[in-house]
């Protein structure tokens, strides 16, 4: 059930044709934004935007190499799971905070 949600995230991330091209280009190895943009009919900022979506979907990871960012396909294939855990713990900690603070208010009355 929970997975339907991040499956949808993955699918919507790959629903865009240019984004699929960007993702496919990473198949041959890690690349910078400039390398990815080369040969694609879109601007570098547009490529960066696509990478941001792919990263949020957990499909790619990035790391700094000097002034550049190098992107690669998530090597562990854990992106979707990681994204799900991110959301799970967000929800859990938000609920925890509400519980702690509701109790605090009662105590101070």
């Amino acid at each position: 059930m929970a997975y339907a949600t991040h499956r949808n995230v993955v699918f919507s991330a790959l629903a865009d044709e240019t984004r699929r091209d960007v993702f496919e280009r990473l198949r041959s190895g890690p690349k910078s934004v400039a390398e990815l943009a080369r040969g694609l009919p879109v601007s570098r900022p547009a490529v960066s935007q696509h990478l941001k979506v792919l990263k949020e979907a957990g499909l790619v990871v990035d790391e700094a190499e000097g002034a550049r960012r190098i992107y690669r396909i998530d090597p562990q294939g854990l992106g979707a799971l990681r994204a799900w855990l991110d959301r799970f713990w967000d929800a859990a900690l938000t609920a925890f905070k509400a519980e702690v603070e509701a109790g605090t208010e009662e105590e101070s009355k």
Partner: protein, 157 residues
């Protein structure tokens, strides 16, 4: 350069308006009151969740009929500052005894009346097989299997 890239831990933090002791207390002994009800292992919604207050203890959900389902073990019990739980749930949200990922909680006083609670869920690489299984369950519409296979290839390296 090291070619093996380990997945980064999931890190989350929240600041609560409560003392360190109270934050720890609510997190542990009242986990049943705040844990998201939408996520459970047993077939029915659990009545409560329990963290046994000692290293080596269990943490588990308890159904209304008394059935208990483990989420894992308590690895470190250091009230009111630190707690490490073994999250032994696979990506299908099922208990798996041989899968141990760690969830560390740090309760850091932020003035007298607030506490910053930092969470780190690590060892995500240990989910490897389960994550692959999850990936296999993804039904690729026409035209996408190639992309998902590429993803699987890269992930398998």
């Amino acid at each position: 350069m090291n070619k093996t890239i380990m997945p980064a831990p999931v890190r989350r933090a929240v600041t609560v308006k409560a003392s360190q002791a109270r934050a720890f207390e609510v997190f542990t002994s009242r986990i049943g009151a705040w844990w998201p009800k939408s996520h459970h292992i047993g077939k029915v919604e659990p009545e409560t969740l329990v963290i046994e207050p000692r290293a080596g203890g269990r943490w588990f959900e308890r159904a209304p009929d008394g059935t208990e389902c483990d989420l894992g073990r308590v690895l470190t019990w250091e009230p009111p500052a630190r707690l490490v739980l073994a999250w032994q749930l696979n990506p299908k949200f099922q208990y798996q005894a041989d899968l141990i990922t760690e969830v560390e909680l740090r309760f850091i006083p932020d003035g007298a009346a607030a506490t910053r609670v930092e969470l780190e869920h690590r060892n995500l690489d240990r989910f490897g097989e389960g994550a692959a299984a999850m990936r296999d369950r993804i039904d690729a519409p026409r035209g996408w299997p190639m992309i998902l296979n590429a993803y699987a290839d890269a992930a398998g390296k």
